[in-house]
Subunit: 342 residues, 2 copies
């Protein structure tokens, strides 16, 4: 088995740097689009065979060192009582956004196998079909990121409603975050139980907050989730996007691996994080639109900055763009393997 | 005259911390909306009397310590040969985006008095009407931010076309940035000539870049602009939004004052910047949706973090939101004056 990814998570020395790509199963692949033409996005997520098939597509095609379950961070919402829809070209919509105490009280905390059985089934199928070729990563949105969708009713540029609740009704905010955190713990534990060999917590939008607000309104809840996964037996990746000014807090919240976006030099990040944690990242996902020569130079720059330090998983600094040319993705993966071996 | 803003720019000790707010002349004010109902946005910008009137609205109403010219960073585009439109609810559109060598070659570099006479006229009117009450700030978009609009043809989430040019055609990129930088130097010098008592360079979207790309593709051009303003006789504020991981580079590019967004603790930023530069910022603009008590606590936290260090101008970390309650803006300004005096 290619267990380089897991060994890098544990900061063990390995022969070359493992690489996987956030959103590697996605719309930039023609194989994905072919399946997507037959189903809605939610149908794909909820059909374990389809989710498993899509998860596997990039493994052979790209030569990546880990598989990540095809799913959406908002899948737990329906079990919580939220009406989720993926509207055409508009991203996710929550038709009953959470704004009041009654809304928070109404949120259900189910067992994950009951709320999202299809996710666990997809993981079981994948473990069989992967036959140990590469490890399988499960994931969840982090408390702030999930709360932001719930409160705003969808994506946001300003997080107005979300921040209003934080500052105007802090008790309600913390009650909501506590419920969300409990759902996340159950969701990730169930994924691990079903066979996920590592899990990633995605705090995609927490960069909207100042470090002071992060510490007061988010940190305790992310820490609760990560504390509860400490004994789960698999590595945990904590990715807080656009949070380079508060990396120390992100590390303190927890995680065996800290995910980094591309807005920081990886050697500067490593200096601040210290040697007792692995790092994942951190190339600009848009680099995949550059000529292969430029991609290779950027890969080499990141590998050089990391140097011989064990505990580096190569990844993009954010999800892959849907227009990305697949041949450039292959060139990136090859460059990581080639230069880190050298 | 209330010259606290200018004295803070020069890092002189003053009796209380001056404050102004990015986009302080704007849609959150009913007085603004009344005028806006009679003109399009571009008509307002191009009518010097109207631009001056709108610039003055927040001065008495809010009690801020500086006026900033009402204008848009894209106003120089028309003189450069670009077809600019502010489409309803869609933000700016450039109908002939810059993509090829022919497009870059076609860009004109006019004198700013010829390209944007109405801006200079508004400044002259304002200096008369302000009668020295508070200083007047002029401004321009920075090279990267202007290039991003030009190349994308409007706003962007991913800056795909912009980054494509950077990486696929670096010579073309640098040729474009060189032309833009020359236009900016002329534009800001003309504003100073007309009476602007300080100028701010807005690099609103440069946070889309990694520090390595910033250094190679942007830094030399921002530095060119800022070097050329060194002897212009007025303080220069350099605001690079979402760039807290590369503050040292932003400082090295230049500016008497470094603008900070809210994603970094201001004391951490000051530690990294050193004592030979003033700072401006850095409260989350969304804090204006919080209750006054919370606003006051956050203001006090920032002032406490700065302490007795001279050279702090209080501001938001980004432009004010159009839905902001005006009474909270007044509460913020009062809190800055009250706590910094204490």
């Amino acid at each position: 088995m290619n267990d380089r990814f897991l060994r890098a998570c544990r900061r063990e020395p390995i022969d070359y740097t493992p690489v996987w790509l956030m959103r590697q199963a996605g719309r930039y692949m023609s194989e994905y689009m072919e399946i997507r033409s037959k189903y809605t996005f939610l149908e794909m997520c909820k059909n374990p065979e389809v989710a498993a098939e899509v998860t596997l597509q990039p493994i052979d095609k790209l030569g990546v060192d880990a598989a990540i379950l095809f799913a959406d961070i908002l899948l737990p919402f329906e079990g919580m009582g939220l009406q989720l829809e993926f509207a055409k070209n508009e991203g996710p919509v929550i038709h009953n956004p959470v704004r009041t105490k009654a809304d928070v009280d109404a949120i259900r905390i189910l067992e994950a196998e009951e709320a999202t059985p299809y996710v666990m089934e997809a993981i079981r199928i994948l473990r069989r079909e992967l036959e140990g070729r590469v490890p399988l990563i499960g994931f969840s949105g982090a408390p702030f990121t999930l709360a932001s969708y719930m409160i705003e009713g969808g994506g946001s540029k300003t997080y107005t409603e979300c921040k209003k609740m934080m500052w105007q009704a802090p008790e309600l905010w913390h009650a909501l975050m506590t419920k969300i955190s409990e759902v996340i713990v159950r969701y990730l534990k169930a994924q691990i139980q079903a066979g996920a060999q590592a899990v990633q917590l995605f705090d995609s939008w927490v960069g909207a907050l100042s470090p002071v607000d992060y510490k007061e309104y988010v940190f305790p809840h992310s820490k609760y989730v990560l504390d509860n996964l400490k004994d789960a037996g698999v590595p945990v990746i904590h990715f807080a996007n656009n949070a380079s000014s508060m990396l120390e807090l992100v590390k303190e919240a927890g995680g065996d691996v800290i995910g980094l976006d591309w807005r920081i030099n990886i050697d500067d990040a490593i200096k601040r994080l210290g040697d007792d944690v692995a790092v994942q990242g951190n190339i600009d996902p848009m680099i995949l639109f550059a000529p292969p020569k430029v991609i290779e130079a950027k890969v080499k720059d990141i590998l050089d900055r990391v140097g011989k330090r064990p505990g580096h998983i190569f990844n993009l600094g954010h999800g892959i763009n849907k227009e990305t040319p697949v041949e450039n993705v292959i060139a990136l993966v090859e460059a990581v393997h080639k230069y880190s071996r050298a």
